[in-house]
Amino acid sequence: MDLRLSGIAHRYGDLTAIERVDLTVGSGETVVLIGPSGCGKSTLLGIAGGLLAPGAGRVETAGAAPAGCLNPLTYVFQDFALLPWRTVEGNVALALEHHPLTASERAERVDAALALTGLREFALVYPKQLSGGMRQRVGLARAVVVRPAILLLDEPLSALDAQTRELLMADLLAIWERERTTALYVTHNLAEAARLGDRVVVMSRRPGRIKDTLAIDLPRGARERPEHAAAMADLQARLWRLIEDEARVAEREVADG
């Protein structure tokens, strides 16, 4: 299934968050969206997923959803957004409960999602007992359990420490390779962008527009190899040059009040 954003613009009161964005994410493709703070990345993702009504423009999907898909456009959140009063199992089951599934179908799906994210032994644990990395795994399991056609990820790793981020990135890649899900992935992290993206879309600072798009041709599995270290470093440096000045300006903006 692919995702098509055309002519998207959005304002919050007087503030123009997004000026005009056209973006298509092809079926099975992973597009990484980077840009300075406040440039409208989260806004764009909210619009893509139907959580925000765009000021202008259209959001459409095309193509077939995978078999058993219950929620074509599914989010993974930066702050995990787990219900603290539900166990891991309960959190993963949440998204299934309002669908007409038999109890055994439901249990099977939940179990498969927990297995995929390595959470099986934690099924009955409450979120407070888990580390940040484990919590985001629950977030991933909850997304996977509905067999999404398109994953929308808003800085899913940025609340984690660097080592956990490393561990999760590897797991995420493995899941993607298996499920071949279309993904729109927002991050600030150039290393993440370079590791995960088929294409990297760079947004300008507010009001957000698409400034540039870089395709990464190396297969994802090969990017870690020592012989590609220089190429990857060069890619990151290019991305950094595209973004550095805008990031510097964005950092120094003072909120009034």
């Binding site: 997923g49 957004a81 219900l83 603290p84 009063w85 309002h98």
Partner: protein, 264 residues
């Protein structure tokens, strides 16, 4: 400064982290009661003005021995229980509505803030007119007193349910009723429970006002009676009963809370 002489780094942390001292409260109570008793024994506190702990204890003992304590407690607990249940249930319904719907909130906030600070004893004559002098007026006093704080806390509790959880539920396409049931209500529970703590204290405080209206039995009625008879030792015994009741209710709510919020 000698280059080579290592100096130890001085400790400058610690403190500002009150540590529990299990014995301290008991000791404090014992000390206060002891001093008080000593002052009474030494004649520094005239027993008319301030009876000694022993006198109060004796009054409490004879109240318990006569069997009246049970009757007073029973009558008051019935009123508190019923009044609190009605007030808290109605308050919860209104508060949740105010938390969920803009319209209910826009209307509710100013009405609540205008009515909340009205002293309940001011309304006793009205309650007599509306509800008579039997149980209904007493229950209504307590119910009204617990209604407003419950509204405020329930409404605040819904407000404090993290919006990201609601957005998450929406992103999975949960219907509104499911979102309310599975996200908003459990998320509001901690706030609602702490509101219950407050409204339970208020219910206790109001039992005296409520029992000003022709009550024969009840801890509040006992306090009023002994106050009128200037039996200060018995009055304070009644106050001690209320105080212990407050501690007991607090402890019970603490248990309930710990169980319902074990996920925290």
């Amino acid at each position: 400064m000698a280059e080579s002489a290592p100096r130890p780094v001085a400790f400058r942390g610690g403190g500002f982290q009150p540590s529990p001292r299990r014995w301290a409260p008991w000791l404090a109570f014992a000390a206060i009661l002891g001093l008080w008793q000593a002052a009474s024994a030494a004649g520094m506190l005239p027993s008319l003005f301030m009876p000694s702990p022993v006198e109060i204890g004796r009054a409490l003992g004879s109240l318990a021995a006569s069997g009246d304590l049970g009757r007073h407690l029973g009558a008051s607990l019935y009123r508190i229980g019923l009044g609190w249940t009605l007030g808290a249930a109605a308050g919860l319904a209104v508060g949740l509505a105010m938390g969920l719907w803009s319209m209910a909130r826009a209307v509710g906030i100013p009405v609540v803030s205008a009515l909340f600070p009205i002293p309940k004893i001011a309304l006793l004559p009205l309650f007599i007119l509306w509800f008579g002098i039997g149980e209904p007026s007493k229950v209504a006093t307590i119910a009204l007193g617990t209604f407003f704080p419950t509204v405020v806390s329930a409404f605040g509790a819904v407000d404090n349910v993290p919006r990201n959880l609601i957005r998450m539920a929406q992103s999975f396409g949960l219907p509104v009723a499911e979102i309310v049931r599975k996200v908003v209500l459990p998320g509001a529970l901690p706030g609602v429970l702490s509101g219950f703590r407050i409204s339970a204290s208020i219910a206790l405080i109001l039992v005296v006002a409520a029992e000003m209206i022709g009550a024969e039995f009840g801890v509040g009625a006992y306090i009023l009676l002994t106050g009128n008879l200037m039996q200060i030792d018995r009055l304070l015994a009644g106050v001690v009963v209320l105080s212990l009741l407050g501690l007991a209710i607090g402890a019970i709510l603490g248990r309930v809370e710990a169980w319902l919020l074990r996920w925290r």
